[in-house]
């Protein structure tokens, strides 16, 4: 006789089962997780030191070309540095910048959006005004000015992007909070004596989590691309630190002779951004109870 279990599945069990139904989340988060592991264990994985130059082995093509060797699987750059090792170390820069920028901008934007949406009135007018001011500032030009003042480095890039890219968080969180504020479960929390901080953090925030995740993934991807753009312009991460954007920038004059120097970091960048967006879409679907 077969026993039929009627117990409702546990929360973790249900979450896992829903995960299995979302191939986009599995693939996306799988790639992101892999990249995170590569970034953490870069010194163990990288076959060579990414900073060591070997003038005698400049612009060696990857292994699948006729002149390629297994010594440098993805070839070497114009200074003879191992390209695979630089790519692996570059993962660190991209991920660190992507997630740090969103940690800063998400905190700023969510706080402003929650306050504007919940309190309305003068607070809302003020927040809307500074969002407008922020939108009037071109990110690249502000970054240019800041780099001119403080010099370029990874931390300058993170700070500048983090302090500039909160507008989307603020706008979306504000409008969602306005809708939620009018619902009776907020009134119920107030009549139970809950403080404003309690209501915002425990009643409102969980209900805007799906929107936050979507914006966060868009913003991580956008910050990674923006870092690449800034580094390409020479305003971001400074050599010899390996960043994917910088690798593309350094290779631009060799583009017509050594195509792979641009194609390889470009592919890595596109894959990471694609995977983050894929994971974000899947995650949103999974944690929105109405859709499951």
């Amino acid at each position: 006789m077969t026993a039929i279990t009627t117990n409702p599945p546990s929360r973790a069990g249900r979450a896992f089962r829903r995960l299995a139904h979302h191939p986009s989340l599995l693939i996306g988060s799988g790639i992101v997780l892999l990249m995170v592991l590569i970034a953490i264990f870069a010194p163990l994985i990288a076959p060579h030191d990414p900073y060591v130059q070997d003038i005698s082995r400049r612009a060696v093509p990857p292994v699948w070309y006729e002149k390629g060797t297994w010594e440098n699987i993805l070839g070497t750059d114009q200074l003879g540095r191992d390209y695979l090792s630089r790519l692996i170390y570059g993962t660190r820069v991209s991920l660190l910048i992507g997630f740090s920028v969103v940690a800063i901008s998400g905190l700023i934007g969510t706080t402003l959006g929650l306050l504007a949406g919940y309190f309305g009135g003068k607070v809302d007018t003020f927040v809307t005004f500074i969002v407008t001011v922020r939108l009037a500032m071109p990110v690249i030009l502000v970054a240019l000015a800041v780099v001119a003042l403080f010099g370029g480095s990874m931390w300058v890039v993170i700070t500048v992007l983090g302090l500039l890219k909160w507008d989307r968080f603020a706008v979306v969180v504000r409008s969602t909070t306005q809708q939620i504020r009018a619902l009776d479960y907020i009134a119920s929390a107030r009549t139970a004596g809950a403080s404003t901080a309690w209501i915002l953090l425990r009643e409102v925030l969980p209900n805007i989590a799906p929107q936050l995740i979507v914006i966060a993934t868009i913003e991580v991807a956008s910050a990674i691309l923006m870092e690449a753009a800034l580094s390409f312009l020479g305003l971001g991460v400074q050599p010899p630190l390996p960043s994917w954007g910088l690798m593309i920038s350094e290779a631009k004059s060799y583009m017509f002779f050594s195509f792979w120097l641009i194609a390889i970091p470009g592919t890595a960048l596109a894959t990471l951004v694609f995977a983050i967006n894929l994971a974000g879409d899947g995650l949103r679907d999974m944690i929105t109870p109405e859709r499951s």
Binding site: D184, Y185, A187, S188, T191, A192, A194, A209
Partner: protein, 323 residues
């Protein structure tokens, strides 16, 4: 005589914008409302949309401050009672159980929320208390880990009632607690509310536009029109011998069971009162089928909260004539 709940001259005004270039207008949502409610009694508040019922509910719950007047709980102004003490004693049951439960919390989380806000008990004690309350309101224990979307409207309203009861309050403000529910479920919820009142010795303020519901549950009825109480009395007085023409019209407007009779004509016309432009004299006079010349000039005396009665010249005329 002490009252659990008393309102004295409760007035609430709102500033309403009428467009960019027009000056703001003042809306009197409540205009000198006096009510008294003894412990263990049920006070029904009836009236059409826009009469100030929901504003009154919000003020009684402390969600909105009155512009003038005061709400007394056991003789003490609720402004002087600490917020935590007040919320422990007065709890709401809202109209729409689809918006009153946070969709991302489990039923157990929703029911224990007030306890967590007040820091009462350990996690295990709170869950035990929630299980007890859920049993009392007729919710199976297996619902504890479910989310609101998995429950029907009636079950959700039971969850809302359980949350209101979890801190052992004295007074429950029911703001149209059944009007969002199916007719078949309404009576279940009403019976539950009445059983709970008997078992726990609760006091209710019961706001509704459904007169048949009010007639069966309520000890005292206050009829509201444009922010004022126009008639007050025991349920029997108001339902059997209504004095105010508006009360009469409300009672006549209740739909009968026989569908062939159609929607009753109550003689009020279709004009909806504008709360921004309350007429001089009696506010009900433009719609009143029995208005006479005095009504458009002199405002009737407000209802005496101790005696009850109606704010209507017709009701006070015999007394005037004798004097």
């Amino acid at each position: 005589m002490s009252y659990l709940l008393e309102t004295v001259g409760l007035t609430r005004r709102f500033q309403v914008g009428q467009g960019m270039f027009k000056p703001k207008a003042t809306l009197h949502a409540l205009n000198g409302v006096d009510l008294r409610l003894k412990k263990g009694q049920v006070l029904g508040i009836v009236g059409e949309s826009g009469c100030g019922k929901s504003t009154l509910a919000k003020i009684l719950l402390g969600l909105l401050a009155p512009s003038e007047g005061s709400v007394l709980l056991d003789g003490k102004d609720i402004g002087t009672i600490g917020r935590m003490d007040f919320t422990r004693r007065v709890q709401p049951v809202f109209q729409d159980p689809f918006s009153s439960l946070n969709p991302r919390k489990t039923i157990a989380d929703i029911v224990t929320m007030p306890l967590r806000v007040h820091g009462i008990g350990t996690d295990a004690e709170r869950r035990k208390r929630a299980a007890g309350i859920m049993d009392m309101v007729g919710l199976p224990a297996r619902f504890a880990e479910r989310y609101p979307k998995e429950l029907s409207g009636g079950q959700r309203q039971r969850v809302a009632i359980a949350r209101a009861l979890v801190m052992n309050p004295d007074l429950i403000i029911c703001d149209e607690p059944t009007s969002a529910l199916d007719a078949s479920v309404q009576s279940q919820i009403l019976n539950l509310l009445m059983d709970l009142k008997r078992e726990l010795g609760l006091t209710y303020v019961f706001i509704s536009h459904n007169l048949s519901v009010v007639e069966h549950l309520v000890d005292q009825v206050a009829v509201m029109y444009l922010g004022r109480v126009v008639e007050l009395g025991s349920t029997a007085q108001v339902f059997d011998a209504p004095q105010h023409p508006y009360t009469r019209a409300l009672l006549d407007s209740a739909l009968t069971v026989a569908p062939s009779l159609g929607v009753p004509d109550i003689g009020l016309g279709t004009a909806f009162p504008n709360p921004l432009a309350i007429p001089p004299g009696c506010p009900f006079q433009p719609r009143c089928p029995r208005a006479f010349d005095l009504c458009s000039r002199v405002r009737p005396h407000p209802v005496d909260v101790a005696l009850g009665g109606a704010a209507c010249h017709l009701a006070e005329e015999p007394l005037r004539g004798a004097a």
